[in-house]
Symmetry: C2
């Protein structure tokens, strides 16, 4: 990351303020190179009955047996979308996958507070079912599916791995960017409350951490230098328990100079460190 | 890192076996591009009275006011050198600094068991005194000194920061690669025993962790994927206590695919991720 971009992100602060969120999106929208002209996009496949059960596909012509890279957006469980007209987000994640020769997938899911835990687990189960049945038609290998998510999207992927363990078996990997992994220790805030409910003491049963620690699926985690403090505490909790369980540091990366949004927002710009990190992992687990 | 290099390092295992140590050195010796022809080297300045109080300088012509990057080699407190004739190690670290436009310094220190804690603190105090008095003559800025170390070298730097706190004040930064930072929880092994003494219970007083947590000097840590387990536990301990003390993840990087020796050994090869990591940090703290 250039010192100039780092300084701007640092100045926006760590809190999830409208200035930080809007400022980060605006900055990286301008730096984004847009969809590669060779990327073929097909939008709005339905993977379930809800209006939010939709996914977009991104690929180059003539791929076959390719890794399938799925991105779940964030938005505090209550907001966010796979694509906003006139914005590069988050089609940039699908385009990134297409540029690697993979089949890229961006998907939406049902939102809180109308939909609460375990709605995300149900949505991801339906999504993975659709992918397993259909990706071959688009050049993807159903045995090379990697799920990724940012913030609430990472939490949904974590919950799916932990609570739909048998269904998730056979995934090639999971990529978690700035997620909450332990609902017994995470912050009590309006976002978590909207999804996990008003009774803080009841959140423990939803916690994916124990399930992640015993999952055989390869995982890559990252935490951003300017993430809000609760995400730092969550990442530290993962490291601590992982080393205790496995005598091995988890694949947990610190993204220097990044904030909560920038690791996904920078994809498709000239800042390549996150693309390299993810491509390295997906390459290894789908080799 | 390429999948081929990763596979070779993984096959060498995590333990500090002769095969792992020799195999890693041989592999990266072959991949090393050698000293850049523009790098000017001056060897064996004495920074103290012991035969091991020696340092080498690396730079481009005509630098001035440059960051000063110092590398302390590892070797279990009992072995190692700044330079071995016919080998690229560890002049590659000095050459890396020169390629960035910095003044590079590689240094040796007295060895255990003849010299025990706090001999390293004394050696680094003398080394930093020498640098503060002399680097301007070679184009370095005495206010932009960054100390780095690998393994036992990292431990010496940590101990100097923690136990010679006032003397270390004014350093621009410290880079720790695969070190031991908490002698109350580290493994009881022959290397630590050689330096910290035979009474395991007495090691606690030497522990630099508390001093690091309250040091104002910017620090970058890294741990290698195939480091022996005790280095993973040490790194987890730093993360855990740092987040508790600062509400902030430390600058702790996981080096995917690397083993205990490769982060320093890869410098000067085509594998640039460690060079980028260190250059990013040094650039920030000396800007």
């Amino acid at each position: 990351m250039t010192p100039e971009i780092r300084a701007k992100l640092k100045a926006l602060g760590r809190e999830l303020s409208p200035e930080m969120l809007g400022g980060t999106q605006a900055m990286f929208a301008e730096l984004n190179h847009g969809l590669d002209p060779r990327t073929v996009v097909k939008r709005d496949f339905a993977y379930g009955e809800d209006a939010r059960h939709r996914l977009d596909l991104f690929r180059r012509d003539n791929i076959s047996g390719a890794p399938v890279f799925v991105f779940l957006h964030g938005g505090g469980f209550m907001m966010g979308d796979k694509h906003t007209e006139g914005s590069p987000f988050y089609s940039n994640m699908g385009d990134f996958a297409a540029r690697q020769g993979w089949l890229g997938v961006t998907a939406t899911y049902r939102l809180a507070p109308d939909n609460r835990f375990p709605s995300g687990v149900e949505d991801l189960t339906a999504l993975v079912d659709w992918l397993r049945a259909n990706v071959e038609d688009y050049g993807g290998d159903p045995d090379k599916i990697v799920l990724s998510g940012q913030s609430a999207g990472a939490s949904h992927v974590a919950n799916y791995l932990a609570h739909a363990r048998d269904h998730a078996a056979g995934l090639a990997g999971a990529v978690f960017m700035s997620g909450v992994y332990d609902t017994t220790t995470c912050e009590d805030n309006p976002f978590n409350r909207a999804y996990y409910g008003d009774d803080r003491k009841a959140w423990g049963v939803a916690s994916p951490l124990a399930g992640l620690l015993t999952s055989p699926i390869p995982m890559q985690f990252s935490v951003a230098e300017f993430d809000p403090v609760d995400f730092h505490k969550q990442a530290a909790q993962v490291v601590r328990q992982w080393v205790e369980a496995h005598d091995q540091w988890p694949e947990m990366h610190l993204l220097s100079g990044h904030n909560h949004l920038s690791p996904a927002a920078c994809i498709g710009s000239d800042q390549k460190e996150v693309e390299r990190m993810i491509a390295g992992f997906v390459g290894r687990v789908t080799a």
